[in-house]
Symmetry: C2
């Protein structure tokens, strides 16, 4: 059996909350064995963009990444957030190395084609082109790669890319070499049967249960892309996916499952 690898994604709401983030990173540093972290962006890019006089544009709730905005997210996600996370993990004896998808050409992407909406400098990952060899070498050397949600188009353009998708794509590609558990950490305790009840965590979801939940219309819109990413990862070789709160979903000593397990 292949060695275990945790691919762990932590969301923007956790990045924005120093107390949550510190506790998460302390727990993350304790996770034994091979691990990869992917962090979301958080609202700090919007705050800094505002101060720089760059207006955030949204269409249908999705951010449009224009030329000024891609510079801001490159600075904030790829510089400030990524390097602060790395420095913090280093202080916790976790040998982190901060990366974007441009580094070592690990995550080539294509600028999202314009259909009805031009999302600007947003990258869609090209799963077949992922370069896992440098990542595998880092893991074997005891390093912990930490990814900002940025990719590149191979033609010198940095692209803003969904962190959930980067996580599932990396997990899938690495499942050829490791037994991969993918964990999505956010500010909820898991997938909820009732969006207003933080305790209504669904412990296990498989394809059949998912279809029933969809039919019942109980899932919130925000969780659907996460679940689609999760099923896609599992169907492509990832061992299991766990979705839960940043402060209680990481592997713990009891082995009990907190959060929602996707199989």
């Amino acid at each position: 059996m292949a060695e275990a690898l945790y691919v762990i994604k932590v969301g923007g709401n956790v990045i924005d909350n120093p107390a949550l983030l510190d506790r998460f990173l302390a727990d993350f540093a304790q996770v034994k064995g091979h691990k990869v972290l992917i962090h979301g962006g958080g609202k700090i890019a919007t705050r800094i963009g505002d101060k720089l006089g760059i207006e955030s544009k949204y269409v249908d709730g999705r951010r449009i990444t224009d030329a000024a905005t891609i510079d801001v997210v490159t600075m904030v996600y790829g510089g400030l957030v990524n390097k602060q996370v790395v420095a913090k993990l280093q202080s916790l004896q976790c040998n982190a190395i901060g990366l974007t998808g441009a580094d070592a050409n690990i995550i080539p992407a294509v600028k999202r084609p314009v259909k009805t909406i031009d999302y600007g400098f947003v990258g869609d990952v090209e799963p077949s082109k992922l370069n896992v060899a440098p990542l595998k070498a880092m893991l074997e050397a005891g390093l912990t790669p930490v990814f900002a949600p940025l990719t590149h188009d191979g033609n010198s353009q940095i692209l803003n890319t969904n962190a959930d998708t980067i996580a599932s794509s990396l997990a899938t590609a690495l499942s050829a070499h490791y037994t991969v558990r993918l964990i999505y950490c956010f500010e909820k305790r898991g997938v909820l049967r009732d969006a207003n009840d933080d305790n209504a965590v669904i412990n296990l979801i498989d394809r059949e249960i998912y279809q029933q939940l969809l039919a019942d219309g109980v899932l919130s819109d925000g969780i659907l892309p996460k679940l689609e990413n999760a099923f896609s990862a599992i169907e492509s070789g990832v061992n299991e996916v766990l979705i839960g709160h940043a402060n209680d979903v990481l592997p713990n000593t009891t082995g009990a499952v907190a959060g929602t397990l996707i199989r």
Copy 2:
């Protein structure tokens, strides 16, 4: 004889000039064999800091890095500049990987002790603690490390660090494994005998010539730290140091030396 390695530092004035930078990166991408790039910061951090309402403070011509400023340089040097250089090199088929000294704990530093001046979050490299193993692994894997002028204190604090010093420290540490040529690229054609005459390039400087130049008082203040770094590197195992213009000092096909050779 050990394999050859170029450790190449490109200055902030080149980073600030898109035409110079593009040509430099095109030439850099063509350099054969193992290579490491260290880039300076440039004035863009000051411009962005100004827009964010962060005042640049200087004492004796040296920038003071307060808490707001270290965030700005982490964003700009470690994010914007570093990742744009990486994406550009990737487009030129150079398999670059962007790093700070915090990544893989390659360059531990100490916050500069306060004597008469408190420089703030400025890091002095601890040469004996450099971790070259991850760097060597990257080089052997065909990657080209690209460093922003940032280090860390091991206690989660990012530190602003002189790029010339990072270059000479890395060159020195790597000289245990490679035959290292250290190249300082800037906007002058080399060390000048007359600061007002761009053609007054001194082709060769050794310790004896250096003492004479100092005695003659012909060297500009700005070049002295570069020369001190250069001699220190050579005395610690670096094969040779070359100082010259970003667009004509990189190894070329003729083998002719442009710039100033330090031996």
